[in-house]
Amino acid sequence: MLRVTKAAMGKSPQLDLTTDLPPEEGGLPEGDTMGSEGARNPPWDPDLAERLRVLLHARPLLALRHGDARRQDEQLQHYDSAALALKAIDLILSHTGLGREMDYERLLRHLTPLMEAMDQEADLPSDPGRHQKMYDRLLDSLRGADASRNPFEIEYTAVDDDGEGLTRRTMQMHLLREEYQDEGTVFRLSDEATTLYLRSLGQDISDAQVASEALIQHQLEDGRFGEAVRSARNARHQSARFYRKIDDLLQITRQDLRRVDWAESVPELLDSARRHARNRQAVESQIVESAEQHLTHLDPGGDDYEHVVEIRDLIRDCRKRHRRLYERVMDAPDVFLEEQARQAFRPRSSEPTPELGPEVLEPLLGMPKTDAIEATEQGAHAVLGPAPPTLPTLGNLLGWLLQPRQHQQRGTAELDDPDLVAIPDPPPRYPPAVRQTVRALLQDLQEPRPLSQVLEAVWSNPDHEPAVAEYLVQVCVADFAPDWNEEDDRSVRTLSSVIVRKRDGQRLDVGPFYGEDLLLIPESLVNEDNT
């Protein structure tokens, strides 16, 4: 007889350490508690519950799609929210931990072509204002189930471990969150959304890197270099995730030691991370060696050659990340001991964390005005940040005292229309024809190519004047290390069609140009590879 109970699967206040661990490296599948008899003939395989949970993660996305037709704003009804959401998830995931992460503006820019295509399909003109509106709605939907940021709550039924009872469980999940980075705020997928996305592509997240690297070796041996490039990119993504997990753990330890389980979970995680980093480095060295051998047999100008070079560089990057991971893991116990010593005598607040709505704002509104003023002014200085006092100087004081008195005229005054004169921009250093040629050259790129190759083709072509090569180098270098725009608080890119990366150890030596070589990767290719 089946019995039905209810349980809520809320999030643990402590850091979840086991989500991404390979089972053989310390992470037990959740709920894997069946005895050997059950394992031989399980009434309900625990893996089914896990699969069901993964499947249910798609529900918010499907709900988005169902909501399209019911959208009150008719101007937005033609947008396929699920497609836009999946594209957004893909873009965020593919850039996480690899630099140039998706922030608000960048994600909007990447989603705009898809929204334009949907406009075209519906015979509507492209409208940036409408795109912005749809984009904001999409983000709101992905952030949480409602405006108060509650997580999505999905009920499902699972069979108990003994196979005799049914339990109704509630799964809480977030899809999208925003995270502070050194340069600003970027989007990150929750672990649940990452799992959903990767598993929906048939990949097992737990040992994705092991699988990716085995695949690269296999594809290299088979001569399927294009496919091996994609596997190598995936492997690099996985190594970045693992490093970030350890980094997060140490950061939380520095903030508050109590939030991390250093008694059991962390030592297990560090141990598995250490083994993972060591094993991966050995395999990655073999892949790099294998790639080097292939390079000796390939035509340096050919596509295969470039693919293998990219694989080698990507795997070298993985190896570097794993070396850093290894060092980080080895230093981790010191961080723990140091923080334990530092935080041991830190006074702990005995007060519970307040609910700012019901416990602060609400009683404040019910207070007499004078008390409410006192309370807000007493508390405000703790949240308004430091306000360094302005230093008085004698010179400023004299200037202030000697300034002529300003007479205020009361009444109204008519304002003349401003006499605006259009001032032309200063002439650009490079004529439009040169800039157009370079842009066309870069837009025509179908595959990643070193700058040295593109430059060589330009330099040796008598149809191109030297200014074309000069401008090509300048825009690529500018995009490799873009300027920082103080006003917008973001970097300024010159090119929109290519991503510029460094080619480690490769030199550029073409005509008068000399230095380290760069790799030009068509941006469209980066996006395609991640779908």
């Binding site: 004078t370 309370a375 430091p386």
Partner: protein, 260 residues
């Protein structure tokens, strides 16, 4: 030897505090700031000197990371913000509405206790002026409903003169928005106080505007998030409780708040 390394430990410590006093500046923008932050994180002796300097200045360093240094001035610190920094002068009503707008913003960014306990690097979702106003107004309406149910009389003239009118009445009696005779929103409307609060926080590097959409959306910066999660929320709560315990007049106690 680089210029930074040629300086004494104390000089480097004071320079780190100099950078930290401006939350708009990020280590990623200045090599020297970045190196000082790195040193603070990695070098225990340097950290101790910086912490001592800060304590002497009545500043509490609540978090340091590659995103910056989050400081909270202790009560009585010369670096503590004063009402005059926020608004040059104002009547009691203005001061009250400024405070409610600021607290309303915080309560909208962090509605639940769990939002204050989340990962330090996770940014709360962006909010608009309208959302904050609706949040405060909803609570004010709850108070109004309760007063009606209890047949509570309107404040007397004496009570008004003594400032014993309940805070919700002041907020409730102001329009949300509205146009003045000149262009722009009415400066008396509640939303203009929230706009002022957002602008003050933005100029001080504590919030950022997200995108260019209209109406504008704002989100806390890392510095505000660190301050609120570590000390800010607790201090705000404590100040409110102290005011409640020493409440001077007819204001309802916590137990009688409309949602309790």
């Amino acid at each position: 030897m680089s210029p930074l390394e040629s300086k004494s430990l104390e000089q480097q410590a004071s320079e780190l505090l100099h950078w930290a006093l401006d939350p708009r500046t990020k280590p990623v923008q200045h090599e020297e700031y970045r190196r000082l932050v790195d040193r603070y994180i990695e070098d225990r002796d340097f950290r101790r000197v910086v912490d001592d300097f800060a304590t002497g200045q009545k500043l509490d360093i609540v978090d340091v990371s590659s995103k910056g240094v989050a400081l909270v001035p202790e009560p009585g610190s010369r670096f503590a913000s004063k009402p005059g920094n926020y608004r040059r002068s104002g009547s009691a009503d203005k001061r009250l509405l400024d405070g409610l707008a600021l607290y309303g913003i915080l309560a909208t960014f962090y509605p639940r206790a769990s939002d204050l306990e989340g990962p330090r690097d996770e940014a709360p979702r962006p909010v608009t002026v309208e959302e904050v106003d609706q949040n405060i107004r909803r609570l004010a309406e709850q108070w109004e409903e309760r007063a009606r149910e209890e047949n509570r009389a309107d404040p007397t003239v004496e009570e008004l003169e003594q400032g014993l009118e309940e805070a919700w009445r002041v907020y409730h009696n102001r329009v949300e928005t509205g146009k003045a005779e000149t262009n722009g929103s009415s400066p008396r409307a509640t939303r203009s106080y929230i706009e002022h609060a957002f602008e003050y926080l933005r100029q001080n590097g504590l919030i950022q505007r997200v995108g260019r959409s209209s109406p504008p959306r704002f989100q806390p910066t890392w510095a505000l998030n660190a301050v609120i999660q570590t000390k800010g929320a607790a201090r705000v709560y404590r100040a409110t409780r102290e005011a409640m315990s020493g409440s001077s007049g007819s204001g309802p106690s916590v137990a009688s708040s409309p949602s309790s």
